[in-house]
Amino acid sequence: MAEIILKNITKEYENGFQAVKNVSLDIKDNEFVILVGPSGCGKSTTLRMIAGLEDISDGDLFIDGERMNDVAPQHRDIAMVFQNYALYPHMSVYQNIAYSLKIKKIPKSEIDQRVHEVAKSLGLEELLDRKPGQLSGGQKQRVAMGRAIIRHPKAFLMDEPLSNLDAKLRGQMRVEIADLYQRLNTTFIYVTHDQTEAMTLGTKIVVMKDGEIQQIDNPTNLFSYPVNKFVAGFIGTPTMNFFEAECAEENGLVVLKTVAGRIVMNDAKAAKLREGGWIGKKVTGGIRPEHVILSQDGENTVFSGKVNVFELLGSNAIIYVETEAGMIVMNTSQVQVYEHGDKIALSVIADKVHVFDPETERTVTN
């Protein structure tokens, strides 16, 4: 239950390295916000500054309207789940969960009741007497969550909480975290490098790169309207195909000319491209694998080449095609088996094409 505002926050480490650059972010009460980005982009640093574990070099942090830059972590009333769980090895599960309440001098009987409540909701009742060393990864994860939940904190911070679990458990815990969020009705800030995790959990996703925020949006918009080539490539698997093209005007239509063909832009995109003065210039095109289709006749072929790898995933197949424009990946549900080296002609759904400025890599068609 907290509103958290980051205003032009910068973190410069002792060695002079700027890990977070001028980050501004508004997190509303009860929002589930995800920080996502490749490893080393400053997600943990941002989270740790909110927690108070790392000094803020520049900018302001407000929690519920109060400036918190100089408030010690234990006075921020924020709970954090660490990547490696950070359970106290010399304490039992019970003591681990109860520790924050003990510090707050809550009466023993109430602590006992709350610990059992939390343990029950997380399926930990049988394990209360164990030491962390005797728990599996998934159980440790639950204890770490229990330790956070029991406090009823203003906000939950989670730093890659699932990255140490195997894939199956990760999927399961993901559902549980979503469920937890619904139940607790508290502000969540969740850090992950895994865009799938971000897309399935988040309502508001913050994409970061090199210490800077690239885009803040909901999953649908991130997928459909990435603001730049980085976001376009980072969100979605398999990743978006990028190709070189030239923007041209033919018979009153704006087209992208590729090595092997042309893509006719719809009215909206055409208008944007004209407006930006892109006619006659080189651009970078982008198309997601699921928007690459088989070319029915020679007419609308955009890429042609040979099948390199064919992966059948059940209801759909991923086909890697070696084309004149480089490797193009297609994700199709019209499953038809290909062999390595088969010739193939590809087209694209023109409405789904993204166009980027080759210099700044910003999207020019949004």
Partner: protein, 287 residues
């Protein structure tokens, strides 16, 4: 040292090595233990027996030597002095050492490296070089020749800071951070999270410094001259020179020495497991 399971070569090839090892260890043990045994044996002799080099064991055990020391000498008082002064000093050293080590390991502040360099430099300074300045400070404060002076001049142990720092560095920083997020102050994090995880470092620290302080001779003898404030080593010496060089009651000196060691032996017996762990660098964190 545990060659039993790791060594794959057949037993007959290993025998010379094992025998060699046993011989070396036995020789080392004899050299270390002999003075101690000699002291104990001599404490039960008469003065004449001690000076007679032909016999090792007393012709007749003189239990009176021991009881004399226990009930009819100032030695028990010195033991008590030594014990409680050492206890207070070690307690203070543990608190100050733990706080400094915690700051050096877990806190980020601009002067951390400088602070560590200063601590390091202090460690390299010969103790004797500090005697005169320390003496002057105590004199200025008017606490020479007092228990307070003895205690105040030993509240910080650089060795202890090093030992604890070494132990603390084994602890993942995340644990302290988790405690901070749970609402713990640095003080609580130190005593409730860090300390229990480095128990053996603390016990080693406490024990080594307790023994050191208990036995300390040089510094206490510089700053105290009233026998009321004597620690054991000083007390023993006073006892030793009481009757002049030729009148020394060797048997009584030996009996007194033996009595003085008893508290340390008891202490060591109880903490042996931790003591050895701590020196070996284990944090007792297993399991």
């Amino acid at each position: 040292m545990n060659t039993r399971y790791s060594d794959k070569s057949p037993l007959y090839l290993r025998i010379p090595g094992i025998v060699g090892k046993i011989l070396i260890l036995a020789a080392a043990s004899v050299f270390t233990a002999f003075p101690f045994v000699w002291m104990v044996v001599s404490s039960l002799k008469t003065k004449a027996d001690i000076l007679n080099t032909d016999i090792f064991f007393p012709s007749e055990p003189q239990w009176g030597n021991i009881t004399g020391i226990l009930f009819n000498s100032p030695i028990p008082k010195y033991i008590l002095n030594s014990a409680w002064v050492s206890l207070v000093i070690v307690a203070l050293q543990i608190v100050s050492g733990a706080m400094l080590a915690y700051a050096l390991v877990f806190l980020k502040f601009r002067t951390r490296k400088i602070l560590f360099a200063i601590v390091m430099a202090t460690y390299m300074l010969p103790v004797a070089a500090t005697y005169i300045p320390s003496y002057i400070i105590l004199a200025n404060w008017g606490i020479l020749d007092s228990f307070l002076g003895l205690i105040v001049s030993s509240t910080v142990s650089i060795f202890g800071i090093f030992l604890l720092r070494q132990g603390f560095m084994q602890i993942p920083k995340g644990l302290v951070e988790a405690a901070r997020m749970d609402g713990a102050s640095h003080w609580r994090a130190l005593w409730e999270i860090v300390c229990p995880m480095t128990k053996s470092s603390f016990i080693t620290f406490g024990l080594m410094n307790f023994i050191g302080t208990y036995n300390n001779y040089m510094w206490p003898s510089l700053i105290t001259k009233t026998s009321d404030y004597f620690l054991v080593s000083q007390g023993l010496r006073a006892f030793f020179v009481r009757d002049g060089a030729y009148g020394t009651e060797w048997a009584l000196v030996m009996a007194a020495s033996a009595v003085v060691v008893i508290p340390l032996l008891i202490l060591f017996a109880f903490t042996q497991k931790w003591f050895i762990n701590g020196i070996g660098g284990e944090t007792g964190m297993k399991g």
